[in-house]
Symmetry: C2
Subunit: 223 residues, 2 copies
């Protein structure tokens, strides 16, 4: 019982800090995307592809969250985009304070987009608001189509779902229609993209959507 | 400190019950709208108008939440729509358990829409997920355009904002552009309707949106 109370006290504090972050993002006009998935669904690969396509036209910053290592940050740094690595230690998710304490690394008002790659986990990151504009989740078709029922909160809070690794569809049992139907039952406005970050198939629709989101924030916060 | 822990423990329990409610709503295919505002912003009048326009074509149920009295439920009952009144006693909001414990009053799988009119309060109802599809908030232009800054959570979680009592605009200092700009800064996808529930001005766009939401749920849950 004590453990639960500590956990939920943390949640309430987090919400308050997340709203503080949100004010920063509103004032500086930067679009903030929180990228979430289970381990190995392809977040970093999608991010590399996204940066390769957009970094010549937009100022983008990246925060990498991992329990340990700076392997993902090194991959992102290789693209030339400014990146910081947060190691959460024992925590299975990023929280609003970790984000807040690292924001001064970036010149937020010169960024068009800040991407936060969360710790690979389909549970806790869904509960921790970071102050972002959009939560985007990836689901690899190699993980199976039963995930909406098992992780309903993640599917409910996401703005968009990326069904990744569709190049593997011929080799796995994954019912795309079922996954999409069950996802939309939990979240009827969910945007869904079917793509392969590895091969590049389906990437254009995703990139257009990201650009639209950046433009939408920009239209509401003229610099 | 103890008070905060109790409060946040309630929040975590509420989230779990809200997801349970959501499963009921998904399984029965009923669209659920949680209507929220400060006191006297016009929730019940908007609801009367909405029922008058839609109740001949849709099966609609209503849950009225108030600290005390069944005055609002009596107004809704006069329209012929099935309604129950929940008196929260000391609580300034409805919670997921109150909704769950009253759902058996309705034949959910025969309803197209269930409207939950929350307690008049711009703070706590925003924090308590009921399992609804959409949170809709009303702001009366008589309340002032400074409300997004003062009640950011409510504006952040709402799917739609009804700016009500626009027939009073000539008589009050209310900067519509500022209110809409500040609202969208907190929530860039917010749908905004300017209307007067009393005169009927602007009601059509609102009604079309509600019908679209009912249709969207229906399309995802064919009966």
């Amino acid at each position: 019982m004590h453990k639960i109370e500590v956990g939920t006290d943390i949640l309430a504090t987090n919400d308050s800090l997340a709203h503080h972050n949100r004010q920063h993002f509103i004032e500086t006009g930067v679009y903030v995307l929180n990228l979430m998935s289970g381990p190995g669904a392809g977040k970093t690969t999608l991010l590399e592809r996204t940066l390769a396509a957009l970094a010549d036209r937009y100022h983008i910053g990246v925060i990498e969250g991992d329990v340990q290592t700076r392997a993902d940050a090194d991959r992102i740094a290789a693209t030339g985009v400014p990146v910081i690595q947060i190691n959460t230690g024992s925590a299975c998710h990023l929280d609003a304070r970790m984000i807040h304490d690292h924001l001064d690394v970036f010149e937020l008002d010169e960024l068009d987009m800040l991407v936060i790659e969360n710790v690979g986990n389909l549970v806790c990151p869904a509960e921790f608001d970071l102050g972002e504009h959009d939560k985007v989740m990836l689901l690899s078709v190699a993980e199976g189509a039963d995930k909406p029922g098992k992780y309903p909160v993640m599917f409910h809070v996401a703005k968009a779902l990326v069904l990744n690794k569709i190049d593997l569809l011929p080799y796995v049992d994954f019912d795309v229609e079922r996954a999409e139907r069950d996802s939309r039952a939990l979240n009827m406005d969910l945007e869904i993209f079917r793509l392969s970050a590895r091969t590049g198939q389906g990437l254009d629709a995703w990139l257009s959507w990201v650009e639209g989101r950046i433009a939408r924030v920009r239209s509401q916060h003229p610099r």
